[in-house]
Symmetry: C2
Subunit: 241 residues, 2 copies
């Protein structure tokens, strides 16, 4: 099933940008009057009729709107420190979309080597992953902020989990599955540190702000693998229990 | 912790090949008499004393042998059809090692576009992932064979699961977690198809050979993501329940 992204679906009309128009009209040779499927990245799929087959600015009339298309039954925010190697973080982002994630917050930790992320590139990857995995909603991506800012601003209504590797006496870790089993329907926020792990200050701030310490099992996982393990755990708990 | 791979640990001596010797002696400047850690890829970690700091063929005397080092408490064989894009399959292999997998069997399915795999390159990736994630055992990788051969030769004592996307009337799918909860301590074999999914013949052969049909939730996952979801499910069930 081919789906086109529209940056603007309003007034019963979906407008395609130059890239999507060219793909729709030039590559796939759709003609005026044909039915196409369009999504808006905000959760809606539209069954449309192509009314203007312009290869630069195609437009389609909405015949039917399908809300919450491809939505997963949970709300997940991942706060993750980007890896030194940008590919690994981008890979995580793609896979997180396939499983289902609502928001990705790239974070700079006290021990982070990378403190920048290419948001434009990341958003392209997320959009294309959403199309490929039939998800109507493209996850939000925040500007990078510090781990401490993220902790202070995390939704206090959400189940907030922090996964880290070192041992801290006053923090008994639950397994991520134990922690998730208590989630019910509340939104979930999971914090994953950089290659150098969180600083003790960051952990203490998280704990004093209501984050639960969790572990992801005994294997030593790379940062992006740990982040994906957390997303997979949320997904599998919700879809495969 | 720096660990060196030895292709031959016997008679109380671990021998390093040219690459590992150069890394140990030239890059990290280890000297004779120093302690180093060596693993043999078969599950053993050795605490050693460097006795010959040759940058081409270093040798170390075994002081202590630690068996089953970094082993996970399950036995998992993944039969996976390589993706069109080789990187995606190699990425799966790296991540599978981090979680823990014993054997990877690349398979050619009736609908496979890729019927070859670069085993030498794959083995390098697995070795380096095992070192990085502190796993003493490097997973076995088979020569590519057909899905049907793999089904016929699968260990009949193992819990055998097949994940596929299409609907088949006579096969009610369990979720992978439901299926795994019945595993106990038996080895696990999981079969993941190509981008084009399995053929009906392959599915029927699997079912008639005792494979259980499973699903991996409602999201449409890429082949390599589905394969990783299965490995993650086994890992999380074992480590995080």
């Amino acid at each position: 099933m081919e789906i086109f992204y529209s940056y603007d679906c309003s007034g019963g009309v979906c407008r395609l940008d130059e890239t999507e128009s060219a793909h729709c009209v030039r590559v796939l040779r759709h003609r005026e009057g044909e039915e196409i499927q369009v999504f808006d990245g905000s959760g809606n799929l539209y069954r449309c009729r192509l009314t203007d087959a312009s290869p630069k600015a195609a437009q389609a009339l909405v015949l039917e709107q399908i809300p919450d298309w491809g939505a997963v039954p949970y709300r997940l925010t991942m706060g993750v420190c980007p890896t030194k190697n940008a590919d690994r973080f981008e890979w995580f982002a793609e896979k997180a979309v396939e499983f289902g994630v609502d928001r990705i917050a790239p974070l700079a930790g006290d021990h982070s080597e990378r403190r920048t992320v290419n948001l434009q590139r990341l958003r392209k990857i997320l959009l294309s992953a959403a199309k490929q995995s039939l998800k109507g909603r493209v996850p939000e991506v925040d500007e990078i902020c510090t781990v401490k800012e993220f902790i202070r601003n995390a939704n206090p209504e959400s189940l907030r989990l922090i996964a880290y590797c070192f041992e801290e006496e006053d923090a008994r870790k639950l397994s991520i599955n134990e922690a998730l089993s208590s989630a019910g329907n509340v939104p979930i926020t999971i914090l994953i540190g950089p290659e150098g792990d969180f600083s003790r200050e960051e952990l203490q701030l998280a704990l004093s702000n209501g984050f639960l310490p969790v572990h992801l099992g005994q294997s030593r996982l790379r940062t992006e693998t740990a982040a994906l393990a957390a997303v997979a755990a949320v997904y599998l708990n919700s879809q495969c229990s």
